[in-house]
């Protein structure tokens, strides 16, 4: 097997083994988004506003929850790898930056996929949405792409934290502005121009754009620009992450 592929899959296999051992993490990663979505349901249900198009909100919010969780999880896990010196050891033992990052992405895809499917299923069921399978599958693709970006962002950010605690300041910095700048709650056209420019930096902006289009009845093809922005955004973060992932202890 190609050394690149062998080492990438070796990281994936190792991370999966670790996930397998950490049943509590798996449970929490699934229970937390399910609970938050339920609270969201209660919230919209209590609003009882017939003029509010709930459909336009719930999918972007669901995607946002998965984005938040995967970002924090990946950042903390990578910081832990650096603290325990397994990250420099991995690199001294021949693993390259890109192999480690791709290995992690592949492994955590399982978790992100489970989270995305669960959130999607719960939203459809609670809010009694009646979308066809093609639309739901498209929504899933967008959520999954956002989750991949979130992991790459987590890995990138882990470079700037020396311990797990230092990951937390990045949450308000990276995660919170997206709530207001992504068009998830209000259209960004109402924002001043400079704030609209900032929106373009948030990956949630692209996922929200795409999800709004899908919910309005467009296909993935018709939402091509927003949908394609996501893998491009992911690629940029991936390159940034692999250029910066340090072997320095």
């Amino acid at each position: 097997m190609e050394p690149f592929l062998r080492r990438t899959l070796s990281v994936t296999q190792r991370v999966l083994r670790q996930l397998q051992h950490d049943k509590r993490l798996i449970m929490l990663s699934l229970v937390v988004p399910v609970s938050v979505i339920y609270i969201l349901y209660i919230f919209f249900d209590s609003l009882n506003n017939p003029f509010l198009d709930v459909n336009a909100y719930v999918f972007p919010l669901g995607a946002y929850i998965v984005h938040f969780l995967t970002f924090v999880l990946t950042a903390i896990v990578l910081v832990r790898e650096r603290i325990t010196e397994t990250l420099p050891r991995m690199m001294v033992n021949g693993y390259q930056q890109l192999e480690i990052i791709l290995g992690y992405l592949l492994a955590y895809t399982t978790l992100a996929t489970a989270q995305s499917l669960l959130v999607l299923g719960e939203i459809t069921w609670l809010f009694e949405l009646e979308y066809d399978l093609a639309t739901l599958a498209s929504v899933y693709v967008v959520m999954w792409l956002l989750a991949m970006i979130s992991m790459a962002m987590g890995i990138f950010v882990s470079n700037f934290a020396r311990n797990e605690g230092q990951v937390f300041p990045f949450i308000p910095l990276v995660i919170l502005p997206s709530i207001f700048l992504s068009g998830m709650i209000m259209s960004i056209e109402a924002l001043p121009e400079w704030a609209q420019a900032l929106s373009l930096l948030s990956p949630v902006y692209y996922s929200t754009e795409a999800l709004h289009g899908l919910v309005a009845g467009n296909s993935l093809w018709e939402e091509g620009a927003a949908v394609l922005s996501l893998p491009l955004y992911g690629l940029v973060v991936l390159i940034l992450a692999s250029l910066t992932l340090r072997d320095k202890a």
Binding site: S10, R17, Q18, H21, T86, P88, V92, G94, D247, A249
Partner: protein
């Protein structure tokens, strides 16, 4: 014939902010040697090893490891070295064998499973191979960590305090391992703060507050110590301090003569530990003078 050098460091400086961790460090390690880097905690041992592995960069000086520059030829160099960091650096939730297999997969190895099995046997952990690392004792974790540095059969071992926190019996077993590896042609640089381990090394460098205060063989270091010569003429006891006993002792004996009245001679030499502590003290004074 001059021996090939596995490690050649000249004038190495390393700073962390305003702290100067290494001051113009010169170290040469010949191939096939067990080289001991001896110093107290915080003396700069780990920093030096990290420079050799390329997980830290020097601020000044030149460094060659197996003829390569750690910063420029990272990939080529790392195929040939086995690094054991000071912390165990293992995945606690995975088994010993899983850890070993994972780190070994970074290298191109044939018969991976066989090598993993043989390495675990070498560090006497075959019976615990399938237990999670979190259930192993501190000494066992050190052995798994050592195994991770051994598994790809490197030419050069860089071992950062491999025997810290390890009981006496296991320490003896570790040194047996190291000697066996050196006998097979490997070069080993091992750091320790335990003086009694100095005797196992072919050569030693004593490091104190970032300065190399002495580089010598264990025998050479012993000769630097003071010796006290006790002479008895019947009840009369005389005491002489010898600074360089291999040359001073004959001179003293010639001066005083071995007449028939001398009834008893005792010879008391400094221990290696006392000599090393003395040298470290001089390093601290030197550091104090520089900073």
């Amino acid at each position: 014939m001059t021996q090939n050098l596995a490690i050649e460091a000249k004038g190495i400086d390393k700073r962390y902010g305003h702290i100067r961790a290494l001051h113009e460090v010169d170290i040469s390690v010949e191939e096939g040697q067990i080289f001991g880097l001896i110093g107290a905690n915080g003396a700069g041992k780990s920093t030096f090893i990290k420079l050799l592995v390329g997980v830290a960069d020097a601020n000044a000086g030149s460094l060659r490891v197996l003829g390569l520059q750690p910063k420029k030829n990272k990939r080529q160099l790392r195929e040939q070295i086995g690094y054991m960091p000071q912390s165990p650096a293992l995945y606690e939730d995975l088994t010993a064998a899983e850890n070993l297999r994972f780190f070994a997969r970074g290298h191109r190895l044939d018969n991976l499973n066989e090598k993993v099995r043989a390495t675990l046997e070498f560090v006497q952990l075959a019976e615990r191979a399938n237990d999670p690392v979190s259930t192993l004792s501190g000494g066992m974790k050190q052995r798994v960590s050592l195994a991770c540095a051994l598994v790809h059969q490197p030419r050069l071992f860089l071992l950062d305090e491999p025997t810290a926190g390890v009981d006496l019996k296991l320490r003896a077993a570790f040194w047996e391992h190291f000697k066996q590896l050196a006998a097979e042609g490997a070069t080993i640089l091992v750091s320790t703060h335990q003086m009694d381990e100095a005797n196992h090394c072919h050569r030693l460098a004593i490091i104190s507050e970032g300065h190399i205060v002495a580089t010598d063989t264990p025998q050479g270091l012993l000769q630097r110590g003071r010796a006290i010569l006790h002479l008895w003429r019947g009840e009369q006891h005389e005491k002489y301090t010898l600074d360089d006993y291999p040359t001073d002792l004959p001179k003293q004996l010639q001066n005083y003569g071995l007449d028939k009245q001398v009834t008893r001679i005792e010879f008391e030499t400094n221990s290696l530990e006392a000599i090393v502590l003395d040298l470290m003290g001089s390093g601290s004074r030197q550091a104090g003078g520089l900073d």
